[in-house]
């Protein structure tokens, strides 16, 4: 499994290495992707994980890394999901799933919690997405379909709040349509806010002059360019 993390260990950070194509295996599973992202979370970070797939990342953060989880419903120091007797209806994460409390936790009300986010105090947040654009635009709150009930939650606050906004998603929709795009067709959550996109097929840096691919899994950079319909820069 070491190879899986070639693009993601703290010691061997993708920013400092060249682009790696992993062609001896298929795309990552979402669990593998969570593990890759976890390796990129800096030691001691304050981290918010969006509802859905990103919550898996917590399972791959070693305790000694000292990462502290924020949940926007008013807590720092959130622990793993609660099981059995641990379940307390007064203690849930932002997805309303019962969770636990770690030593050193603290609780605060919603205005304080969002002040923490909007004031730029969180180091990293990882969000799911419908689409991310080459310039870092994020679309993850609304499909734009006329019969969809709009529901934004804290997504727009997270998108503009954390110092580093990462996206975790599959690179293609179920119909094969790319979700990393030149420009979002879905309603935006935030403008130019995403720095890096982690997908089953590759890791991409966005928001710069060109999209930079840091790693691929099960596909070459050349094939990715073709499927995404956009040029991709690599790092030597």
């Amino acid at each position: 499994m070491t190879d899986l993390f070639h693009a993601g260990t703290a010691e061997d950070h993708p920013v400092e290495t060249g682009t790696v194509e992993h062609l001896d295996r298929g795309p990552l599973t979402m669990d593998e992707l969570a593990e890759v992202i976890a390796r990129d979370i800096p030691e001691g970070s304050f981290l918010n994980l969006g509802i859905g797939q990103p919550t898996k990342i917590a399972d791959h953060l070693p305790a000694e890394l000292g990462v502290i989880l924020h949940t926007e419903n008013g807590m720092l120091g959130m622990g793993p999901a609660a099981d059995g007797d641990q379940i307390d209806p007064d203690l849930t994460n932002a997805g309303k799933v019962p969770v636990t409390e770690l030593p050193g936790a603290s609780y605060f009300h919603h205005a304080d919690s969002f002040a923490m986010m909007r004031g730029g105090h969180l180091d990293v947040c990882v969000l799911g997405a419908y689409q991310v654009a080459a310039n870092g635009d994020l679309a993850n709150w609304h499909t734009g379909k006329p019969d969809a009930i709009p529901a934004v939650g804290g997504a727009m606050d997270l998108a503009i709040g954390a110092k580093d906004v990462l996206v975790m998603m599959t690179l293609f929709g179920k119909d094969g349509t790319p979700k990393l795009v030149r420009s979002c067709s879905y309603p935006l959550t935030g403008v130019g806010c995403v720095s890096r996109v982690y997908t089953d097929h590759g890791i991409f840096e966005v928001g710069g002059e060109s999209v930079v691919v840091r790693a691929t899994w099960g596909i070459s950079v050349a094939d990715l360019e073709e499927r995404l319909g956009m040029p991709l820069a690599t790092v030597a």
Binding site: G74, D90, L91, K96, V97, H109, S113, I149, M156
Partner: protein, 231 residues
């Protein structure tokens, strides 16, 4: 606000809520939702209400029950759509309820502004999105902000863990959520608690909502409800 009233029943606690009121309802999903007060409000009968709450009800309890009873004209919330928000969904898709979606941080901060005497503020959220439409914007120090106005309530219905006899409140874990902000943003704040303790028995360093924000308190039986997502 003058001295807090300690009431015997949730029905007494919600007495006098007028038709057409704006009611801030605490809770994030089920955590911190004032079930007993909402049930009493349904019995009380006030209608044509505007509800400000993070969600728009779960299953058929609490806020969902109020919606189902047809008492709500409009909901301001951040996240109506949930796996078990079918009561709201049906009303909304049938055009029988108005919805204003407000980003969660704006919902909290706009209520905080109402409680704090702030006339309006420039917030960083939703710039460049469809939720910015119709809002004034301004560039400050090179960053764009949107002008956001306070959200005031005629009433707040919230849930806390304990109150002392003066009306000071403490909460439990993430059930704190919108309670403290709503208590300060409403003209009349009504609180259900799991217990009323003697004045002096709460740690003054740990009081979260001082009694000045609390008008009526009622102790209720401990809540029992199914936790969504429990595994």
């Amino acid at each position: 606000m003058a001295r807090t009233q300690l009431l015997e029943t949730a029905d007494e606690a919600v007495a006098g809520i007028e038709d057409g009121s704006t009611v801030l309802v605490g809770g994030f999903g089920l955590a911190g939702m004032p079930f007993d007060l909402i049930d009493a409000l349904i019995r009380q009968g006030a209608t044509d209400l505007t509800i400000v709450s993070n969600n728009a009800g779960n299953g058929e309890v609490g806020l969902a029950a109020l919606l189902k009873a047809g008492r709500v004209r409009k909901v301001l919330c951040s996240f109506p759509r949930q796996s078990d928000s079918y009561v709201f969904d049906e009303l909304y898709l049938a055009g029988r309820i108005e919805l204003e979606v407000v980003p969660q941080g704006n919902l909290a901060e706009r209520m905080r502004a109402a409680g704090a005497g702030i006339g309006a503020f420039y917030g960083p959220t939703a710039v460049g999105t469809s939720l910015a439409e119709g809002k004034e914007s301004r560039v400050i120090d090179g960053r764009e902000y949107l002008l956001e106005y306070p959200i005031r309530g005629d009433y707040a219905l919230i849930s806390a863990h304990h109150a002392d006899r003066l009306g000071n409140l403490v909460y439990r874990k993430t059930a704190r959520n919108f309670g403290p902000v709503m208590a300060a943003a409403a003209s009349t704040t009504i609180v259900q608690v799991n217990g009323v303790v003697e004045t002096g028995s709460l740690d003054p360093e740990a009081v979260v909502t001082p009694s000045i924000y609390v008008d009526r308190v009622v102790a209720v039986e401990e809540r029992h409800y199914t936790v969504q997502g429990a595994r």
